[in-house]
């Protein structure tokens, strides 16, 4: 074990996922409002006795005093009892029923959901049918029937809420367990001989619970609403003041003193809203994508241009200097390089930590050349391709500098809208995982037609689609155009994605790990297709990969990347025969069978 690496890692403090979740949830202002409402609700419920100016049943003044009367902030009811005191004490009942009722529902849901999810089979089918049954019976009606049978009491209301509220939680827990069950750590625990109960409690549930938190907050809100409804209808203990009861008795004097209905109504609405806001905050925090900001390239580009201009340099002159700089490196055949990238820097922030993905790289791709960028995971190689195509997933960009041009035209928005066109017409990308980059609900042909951008349609479009598919070795007879992505094999899918990329007639194809997800035999044939396009049609390719085998088979020139920088660049044969940098040497030495190949060469 190399100690320096460990030492440098020690300083890095990675927050625990649960803390991170809380932090994300509270970034949302609505969560803070919700939490504040809940704090007020809970404190009122706890200290109601001390805070309330009067006893809730005490006849303290004249009946039906309006709010802001002397000594009665919220007025009095039809019996002359203080409304403020009654609302405060009412919060106790609401919160108790909400928390205990929903808590019971969640507990039942967790138990049933985990059993159904973990054991599966007939048990799962049975439990889920029962859950469906409970889902269609409205809580309110069961409660009324139960109240009629057993008489109204608070415990009864809690029980009814508990027994009608569990199916949603059970479904959520079951779905979570079903996906978690496939995780390797669960299988490893089974292999080690842990009992099912222990695996569920110790490995499955702690990982399944975060979405249940959201559900819990929602359910408590719901339970408060149901409790208000029930006590409004007269179920429950008449001697304990509740918001529902207050609403019910306010009916009598609705026209005279509407505030008697408005005040407890507002209390219900605010409590439910509090729980919903908190639930919503956690829900967004669990789906970080909902909070992530799309990269606004327009703005970033404008900033870059401003910086360049303030540096006192003519922007177009910049690109030209770069071109003249490269001119001596290019041969007569290709002239000026097709793609020039100069001193590209792209850093972004993830979870508060800055990732220096690309840290000042310069390179070029000549017309009709296949250039490889090779590096390990985290080296920043994929970021280069995505920045050039401006196809990054949502991240918070902290630094974006440098210049790039395609066929002499600025690529990174130095001249605003024009760069968008240059990029759209000039660059296409092929990714590692075609399934997540093809639309699963559209036939392949329709997706390619969409890429034509409405320039052609009908029989002409169909002709072009077939032609494109044939170019990527998907003959007409296979009828790929009329199929959906899931009906294709991995290799066919990747070819379909290449066809889609070619539909735009790109000058440059950026291929990011185009074969990594494929079986070896399929890999070879996809490479064959790419090489055919490269050699016969002169397609320029920027190949991004970790695989030295792929690089050796496709690239003519290679850049070796590590931690956002190029450590070495050379002709492919030179790189393999005579690597200069220690990092390249160590990478090559690690390729299984590399030395053996060298041996056969001699």
């Amino acid at each position: 074990m190399n100690m320096p690496a460990v030492a440098s890692e020690r300083g890095r403090k990675v927050p625990r996922p649960s803390l991170e979740l809380l932090k994300r949830a509270f970034k949302n202002p609505l969560t803070i409002i919700g939490a504040a409402l809940l704090v007020v609700l809970v404190l009122t419920a706890i200290f109601a006795d001390v805070l309330a100016p009067y006893k809730p049943t005490e006849i303290a003044g004249f009946p039906l005093l309006p709010p802001f009367s002397d000594g009665f902030l919220l007025g009095t009811d039809n019996l002359g009892r203080d409304t403020l005191s009654r609302v405060m004490l009412g919060s106790r009942m609401s919160l108790a029923v909400g928390v205990f009722g929903a808590g019971m529902g969640i507990l039942i849901g967790i138990v049933i959901g985990s059993i159904a999810g973990y054991f599966g089979g007939w048990l799962d089918t049975l439990l889920m049918r029962v859950a469906e049954l409970f889902q269609i019976i409205p809580a309110l009606i069961i409660a009324l029937v139960a109240a009629a049978l057993f008489g109204g009491s608070m415990q009864l209301v809690i029980l009814v809420i508990g027994f009608t509220f569990w199916p949603d939680t059970a479904r959520i827990v079951r779905a979570q367990i079903l996906t978690l069950k496939e995780r390797h750590f669960i299988e490893a625990a089974k292999v080690a001989g842990f009992k099912s109960r222990r695996i569920i409690l110790s490995d499955l549930l702690p990982n399944a619970l975060p979405p249940v938190i959201v559900q819990a907050a929602l359910l408590v809100g719901w339970a408060i609403l149901v409790e208000a409804g029930l006590s409004f209808l007269g179920v429950g203990d008449v001697n304990i003041p509740t918001w529902g009861q207050m609403l019910s008795s306010a009916q009598v004097s609705l026209s005279q003193s509407p505030w008697l209905s408005i005040i407890p109504g507002l209390a219900v609405v605010l409590s439910v809203l509090g729980f919903n806001f908190v639930a919503d905050g956690f829900n967004s925090a669990l789906n970080p994508r909902r909070l992530a900001v799309e990269v606004d390239y327009r703005k970033l580009n404008a900033e870059r241009v401003r910086k360049l201009k303030s540096a006192g340099e003519g922007v177009t002159a910049e690109v030209q200097t770069v071109e003249s700089q490269y001119a001596h490196e290019t041969d007569e055949r290709s002239g000026i390089p097709q793609l020039i990238v100069d001193d590209l820097v792209f850093n972004f922030k993830v979870g508060g930590r800055e990732v220096r993905a690309v840290n000042g790289v310069s390179f070029h791709v000549n017309r009709g050349e296949c250039v490889g960028i090779v590096g390990e995971s985290g080296s920043g190689k994929s970021t280069i391709g995505r920045v050039l195509a401006q196809l990054l997933p949502p991240v918070e960009v902290s630094r974006f500098e440098g210049r790039a041009s395609l066929d002499g035209e600025d690529l990174l928005g130095l001249s605003g809208l024009k760069a968008d066109r240059v990029r759209r017409d000039g660059i296409s990308m092929v990714f590692q995982d075609p399934m997540s980059h093809l639309n699963p609900t559209m036939k392949v042909g329709a997706q390619i037609e969409e890429a034509f951008g409405g320039t052609i349609s009908g029989a002409e479009a169909r002709e072009r689609i077939d032609e494109l598919l044939e170019r990527v070795d998907l003959p007409r007879a296979m009828n790929v155009a009329d199929r959906y992505p899931h009906q294709l094999s991995g290799g066919q899918r990747q070819r379909a994605m290449i066809a889609l990329a070619l539909a735009m007639k790109p000058k440059l194809l950026i291929a990011d790990e185009p074969t990594t997800a494929l079986d070896a035999s399929v890999q070879a044939s996809v490479v064959e297709t790419l090489l055919k396009l490269h050699h016969e049609e002169g397609l320029s390719i920027l190949l991004i990969s970790h695989d030295f085998g792929l690089i050796a088979n496709m690239a003519e020139r290679v850049y070796v990347m590590r931690q956002g920088k190029f450590v070495e660049s050379a002709d492919v044969i030179e790189l393999f025969d005579n690597p200069k940098h220690d990092y390249t040497k160590s990478l090559l030495a690690a390729v299984p069978g590399f030395k053996a190949n060298q041996g056969t060469e001699a």
Binding site: P17, G593, F594
Partner: protein, 280 residues
């Protein structure tokens, strides 16, 4: 080695998915189709195949996570299906696993020390008071510093996670470790480190490996014998060197031919040869 000495042995094992059930109209898939193989003491058996070859289903069968539809699997001569309590308990210690994806092979909510100590305590490998010492010993033997013990999985790199997963397996002092694509998700340089760690551990602990992989290069470096699987069947089996240097089955030949050779000279020669043959 005779078959009787085999630690793990599968005889004519088949596994059919989608058989019977409520919707018996659905298509049946023979994921594993009449496979026989064995793993001997201190031996590494490579199981090679592409996706859909049935190699991972075979791994799950050997681990006892999946019951075969037909055929028998046995551990030290005892049929999995007929094990008594003590034999099953022994099996749970003696057969361990390392999975492909280090991201999902450790419980994200448990620290390294918890992950390693719970298996030690389950099988009462050490008394409670000695657990921490043993955890540190295990970490040391997989090349991790002791301070890793109090980290959570998300604080570790992919290579470190895979080392912890290997640590969890060897902590049980197993006889066989089934490694299902254990190196595939790692960078090449990390792959090489973990590969040499696995070889080292085999020497020190006398453990056998069933090494399941699609990567012929890696299998050549670690496996003594190799089983080539295709469409659920065994295409070819034998000494690794022999099978990979002089393949008999057409499928093995095509697998070897399809492999990218990390050698641009060779790549160019192959391409030129093909172009030449096309023009002629």
């Amino acid at each position: 080695m005779s078959l009787d000495e085999a630690i793990l042995r599968a005889d004519d094992v088949s596994c059919v998915f989608g058989a019977g059930g409520m919707f018996s109209g659905s298509k049946q898939v023979r994921a594993v189709d009449g496979v026989s193989l064995h793993v001997g003491p201190q031996e590494t058996l490579g199981i090679v195949g592409e996706s859909g070859s049935g190699k991972s289903t075979m791994a799950r069968i050997l681990l006892g996570l999946l019951k075969p539809t037909s055929g028998t699997v046995s551990f030290e001569g005892v049929d999995y299906a007929k094990m008594n309590r003590a034999q099953r308990w022994n099996f749970h210690q003696a057969v361990q696993v390392v999975f492909q994806d280090p991201g999902t092979s450790l419980n994200p909510r448990k620290s390294v020390v918890k992950i390693l100590s719970e298996v030690l305590l389950l099988h009462k490998k050490v008394p409670g008071s000695k657990v921490l010492d043993r955890v540190i010993e295990v970490l040391d033997s997989v090349g991790l510093p002791s301070e890793i013990a109090f980290r959570m999985p998300h604080e570790l790199s992919g290579g470190q996670k895979q080392r912890v997963a290997i640590g969890r397996a060897i902590a049980m002092e197993p006889k066989v470790i089934i490694a299902d694509e254990a190196l595939s998700a790692l960078d090449v340089s990390i792959q090489a480190q973990v590969l040499s760690l696995m070889k080292e551990l085999q020497r020190d602990l006398n453990v056998s490996y069933a090494f399941i992989s699609h990567d012929l290069g890696v299998v050549r470096e670690i496996a003594d014998r190799v089983v080539v699987m295709h469409n659920g069947k065994v295409e070819e089996t034998g000494n690794t060197q022999e099978v990979l240097d002089h393949p008999q089955a057409e499928y093995t030949k095509s697998l070897l031919a399809a492999r990218f050779i990390a050698n641009p000279h060779e790549a160019r020669r192959v391409r030129l040869a093909r172009e030449l043959s096309e023009t002629l």
